[in-house]
Amino acid sequence: MILELKNIDKSFGEKEVLKGVSFVAEGGKAFGLLGRNGAGKTTSIRILMNVFSANSGEVLIDGAPIDYDKIGIGYLPEERGLYPKKPIIDQLVYFAELKGMSAKDAVKAVDYWLGRLGMTEYRNKKLDTLSKGNQQKIQLITALAHDPDIVILDEPFSGLDPVNAMLLKDVVKEQIAKGKIVLFSSHQMSYIEEFCDSIAIINAGKVAISGDLHDIKRNYVRDKLVVSTTKPEQIKADLGGACSEREDGSLLIQLASPDEKQAMMKRLVENYDIDEVKVFEPSLNDIFVEYAGAQV
């Protein structure tokens, strides 16, 4: 299954929030939707979920306009919140029913997920008696219980302790393995890097870059070298401004052009005590800062 957003425009009053947003997400893979606060991620998600209608553009599944009666969508919103004063089982079953399940199936599915996330003991408790992390797990069930085809998780890891984060990772991997489209939106780049095969970075309502994460990294201009050495001082002194020290103690050497790569590598290996030298590949964090940071 392939989900495609094509040239989505959306404005609220005078304000243009999305300007021709397009991206493609595939089933069985996780997709990262990145962008700074206010870039248009949530609006894109709401258009995808048919909460807002776009001014122009299309949402396609396998090339045809999406049929919301057939394609189930599960959503974990960034702004968490359910009914604080109602028993957990009641509201979870209600949400699953609203998504089209029968009462019986809903209870069964909710009980499965309560067990899966280790929350069975809270089944009949009121939501506001739970800790924040546990409330978040309950909220996750509203996104998963009806077995949706598309799972949208907005900042799923915020507020979770390492054990729960691990549990969530397993759940997410399981969903991906089932062939679902998993759409991540997060500012925690490490998680995106861990899960997502492809990404889109939205900046000020436009897609700044999108595609396969490996390709994006490969296509980066290869004009920097990362050098591990026991004696950085000597190299720094010889290369001057082209050389800077990184946080982990390794050196980053800026080349005048990518063509100089071989020559510089040779020079380094022959003249200095080098442990390792490689071409610099940016982390997702670096990419994000470059593409999303340009915003005013």
């Binding site: 209608s53 959503y75 968490r80 919140g81 359910l82 609203l98």
Partner: protein, 414 residues
């Protein structure tokens, strides 16, 4: 439709599990039961004391006159006229008499200057003190009888003339406003209370979902029309069952207790003709719905629960004005005045105005029909509009938006 049913069920369950809602209902039913049994309770206490009322238990009314024969005549007539008083001739001076009243030994006094002139002394003049009116009538009668005797009639003839009985009968061809007044009053008041109470509940319910951000998931799961209609109908069913329970208890206990409650006033309340009862239900349900939709739409524009009270103010005002117009017209007796006629066609006021006119005046069937038709049309229209406002409103956070802004967004082509 399926979704609508699920929402309705969930919301209804919420009302039934709400301890405050259940508590209020039980309290009302118990209160009604107590009220209906009050006559029994009172008569149970009274039966022992009955017949023991002695003249000394009654408040004292003093009669003073320089002329002793005048004093005795007045005392005789007043004793017959003021059965609730122990009428006594005053001994001593006017000043002593005043002191007696201030000290509380006597409640009031008539100081006769002549047969047709007196001063009434009382410590605190009550709003409902009718003593001087009664005294005037009695004294006029005394004076007239005296005059007749002086002019040669025998006391018997004079007495006959004075006590002539006029026989009369009233046949009401339209509505008896006296008789209908009380149940109309009670029904209008019930409508007023229920709409304001439940309207607030609907608004709070929507705003709570919004402020707790449950809306974020809800809005992606259900259609706004289903949400709005489900919520409002659930509150309508809850409110209506509460009323049925309270009034049902009252009617049941009235029938059980009919003998003790022989007061014609109470009887008039329970003597609602069946067709009025049907109109009552129609106007009640429609009036409830139209206001509940508006309250729901308002609730969706508030980000915080605190905003609700100010946001609902225009609706509350509209409603209070309608209530005041109806109440003034009812008490003034001119039910069919121009304001009421206009109000019976405006959908926001017609539930109260038209119902009152049907109860207390004669309204042509086509007027009722037009009023109900306008009301039904408007209720559906307001319902759809409120669902649209809801869709726009629920995802707007921050300051409650201006009405014009919302309308612009709602009517903008999507």
């Amino acid at each position: 439709m399926n979704q609508f049913g699920k929402i309705l069920k969930f919301e209804l369950k919420g009302y039934l599990r709400n301890k405050v809602f259940v508590g209020i209902t039980i309290f009302l039913v118990v209160s009604i039961a107590i009220v209906m049994f009050i006559p029994n309770i009172i008569s149970a206490f009274q039966s022992d004391d009955e017949g023991d009322v002695t003249p000394s238990d009654l408040p004292t009314m003093l009669i003073y006159a320089e002329d002793e024969s005048l004093r005795d005549i007045v005392k005789e007539y007043f004793t017959a006229a003021f059965v609730d008083y122990n009428v006594t001739a005053a001994e001593g001076s006017v000043d002593e008499l005043k002191n007696d009243i201030i000290a509380g030994n006597a409640e009031c006094a008539f100081v006769m200057n002549s047969a047709s002139s007196y001063t009434y002394y009382v410590n605190n003049l009550s709003m409902y003190d009718m003593n001087t009116e009664i005294a005037n009538t009695v004294l006029q009668e005394v004076y007239r009888v005296g005059a007749m005797i002086q002019n040669g009639l025998t006391p018997e003839q004079a007495g006959e003339i004075m006590s002539v009985q006029i026989e009369s009968g009233t046949e009401t061809l339209g509505k008896d406003q006296m008789q209908n007044f009380f149940y109309t009053y009670i029904m209008i008041f019930a409508l007023y209370m229920v709409i304001l109470l439940y309207g607030q509940m609907v608004a709070t319910n929507v705003a709570t979902e919004k402020s707790s951000r449950a809306m974020e998931v809800l809005v992606t799961s259900a259609k706004p029309t289903s949400m709005m209609f489900g919520k409002v109908l659930a509150s309508c069913i809850a409110g209506f069952s509460q009323l049925v329970l309270v009034f049902g208890t009252a009617i049941l206990l009235y029938n059980v207790n009919k003998e003790a409650l022989s007061n014609p006033l109470i009887a008039s309340i329970f003597d609602i003709p069946i067709e009025l009862f049907i109109y009552l239900i129609i106007f009640f349900v429609l009036g409830f719905l139209i206001y509940a939709f508006m309250f729901g739409a308002i609730g969706s524009t508030a980000s915080k629960l605190e905003d609700i009270n100010t946001s609902v103010m225009p609706i509350t005002f509209l409603f209070i004005i309608a209530f005041m117009v109806v109440m003034f017209s009812m008490t003034s007796g001119s039910i069919d005045n121009t304001a009421m006629r206009i109000c019976s066609y405006i959908p926001f006021t017609s539930p109260m105005a038209m119902f009152t006119r049907i109860c207390m005046s004669t309204v042509a069937w086509y007027e009722i029909f037009i009023s109900i038709a306008i009301l039904i049309g408007s209720t559906v229209g307001i319902g759809v509009l409120s669902a649209k406002i809801y869709r726009v409103g629920v995802l707007l956070y921050g300051m409650p938006p201006k009405f014009s802004t919302i309308m612009k967004t709602v009517f903008k082509k999507q």
